[in-house]
Symmetry: C2
């Protein structure tokens, strides 16, 4: 994706120049490790595009872009402990490569480094406003993660509750990435609200799409086992919609499967058949499209610039992804 | 301690008014729980005293005072996981009462709430400066905790390295508590540096004193088993000083004990005897007094006010504590 190259190069170079201290190793090595792992850097790109779209040179958004990327990595370190995930981006997770204590502490340190980045914004940028938007956003991410954990122990989660959870867990940081880019360009409130809307819509669209791809994607390209979410008994949008819509008999079987939390290949195939029987995938695809459209709609108030073009192209790319 | 009552009442009332949201419970209940546990609130008191000493009404320091108390509690939640501590202030620790994931997440949330408090400072207070001092301080606390963890696996820690570790783990937040109080009163750089010095000295004095009290305090008053640190094989200032000073024979025995990490009552008594033989306790007491004196000295540049009087009285109380 050539149109992303300028942003990507700039972000990698800035991350490289962070120059975290060498010691104490327990604190900084895991931070360097996760930052060096291959990542798409979507969030900081959004920040830079937003700064450009609001009429400033994208360099002005760099501290905010770094802040969102650092916070994203902080949340990965801590979420991987909570989810007991062993690998991430093809490498061992921090708590596996080191240990849980080191992962907790280095995650804390990374959250602090993220907030420290905001001090490097230009003097004429409203630091207090930037800080408030950022912190309220990160708090929403924590709320989303809390809901996600609570949902694991509940069977009566509705699709709407799921979308609210996603709004926090995924949407809030994407929204904050864009809004902070706008604040760095001193955009007015109307533009900031539009950027926020774009972010939340993208977050929702992206997650529903992830849930769909689990079932329909080519496992080779997607990098995950087909129906992996179903094997794990995850309460995805599809699963919750199915629970809401299916008849008593199918529901009884499904709940029984989810309560036992272990599905075999036949169960998974049966769930996928039920998705088709009840039109769940079509429904989810239509919801996803609605949110992508909402994001594009919210961008209409911005002038046509190269940056807006890049953002629309990025949205288009995400919309059509197969992995 | 009557002279502390005004501060204590104000702080408890402000904590009570924080009004953390009710849900998600997983995120906010542990935060409410740890804030409701009985605590001395020394750090926020220091903030308010510093604001008063620098010529402002103490109310102006409240957001900073709340921020340091919240950050202190964030660090307790996460440290207790890392130290696998089961109880704190006579109650179950968060990761025991709930679970580790909940403790990680609610600790994260508490750190964010702490930062959010700083937005409530008066408009004429330099928010960016306050934020920078605060974050750099918390990062030093993390560095101290990292060193502390690294020391557990090293036998060649020097007493000087120990004091550096303490500077971060305990001193940095006490220093930040005072400096932020000064910033809220728009104190000049000279005063802020003096406040920082007071904080670091108090932190060092306090920790060395804790190490001494483990051996000489009345266990009933101190609330811990006599020699508890020795039983645990902790590398306290006393232990490291002893390792540095003792002869080869005593050293060989001591290292053997520490490597096996299990001391019985006879071993503990023998260590205490070695402390006496090598004058370790006298030495530590003299170091502690030096730091308390340094703190008092650094306060000399401040005018004589009720607040300075209160702070000196607090230092005097700490100096003479037997628990």
């Amino acid at each position: 994706m050539d149109f992303l190259k300028t942003y990507a190069t700039l972000i990698e170079s800035e991350i490289h120049q962070l120059n975290l201290p060498e010691t104490p190793k327990t604190l900084y090595e895991p931070q360097r490790y996760i930052l060096a792992s291959k990542a798409k850097r979507v969030r900081p790109m959004l920040t830079l595009m937003a700064t450009g779209m609001c009429g400033e040179s994208i360099e002005k958004g760099i501290p905010a872009a770094l802040a969102v990327e650092l916070v994203h990595n902080f949340s990965l370190i801590h979420d991987d402990i909570m989810d007991q995930a062993d690998s991430r981006r093809g490498s061992e997770t921090v708590h596996i490569k080191w240990d849980e204590s080191t992962a907790i502490l280095s995650g804390d340190g990374m959250l602090i480094q993220a907030m420290i980045q905001l001090h490097y914004v230009a003097d004429n940028v409203d630091h207090k406003k930037l800080s408030r938007v950022f912190l309220e956003g990160i708090n929403k991410v924590c709320e989303g993660q809390a809901l996600d954990m609570e949902f694991e122990n509940r069977l009566n989660v509705t699709p709407d509750e799921y979308m609210d959870m996603i709004s926090g867990k995924t949407g809030a940081l994407i929204s904050v990435s864009l809004v902070m880019g706008g604040i760095c360009a001193k955009a007015d409130q109307k533009k900031l609200e539009a950027l926020s809307e774009v972010g939340y819509s993208l977050g929702r669209a992206f997650q529903v799409q992830d849930d769909i791809l689990d079932v329909i994607a080519d496992p080779e390209k997607f990098g995950k086992k087909k129906g992996g979410d179903i094997y794990e008994g995850k309460k995805t949008y599809l699963m919750l919609k199915l629970l809401e819509r299916c008849n008593k008999e199918d529901g009884k079987w499904l709940i029984n499967c989810l309560e036992n939390k272990a599905m075999n290949q036949d169960d998974v195939l049966r769930v996928i058949n039920l998705y088709e029987k009840y039109g769940i995938i079509d429904d989810a695809e239509s919801l996803m499209k609605t949110y992508y459209l909402k994001a594009e709609k919210a961008l209409e108030i911005f002038e046509e610039t190269k940056y807006k073009g890049d953002l629309l192209q990025l949205i288009n790319f995400l919309k059509n992804r197969e992995f």
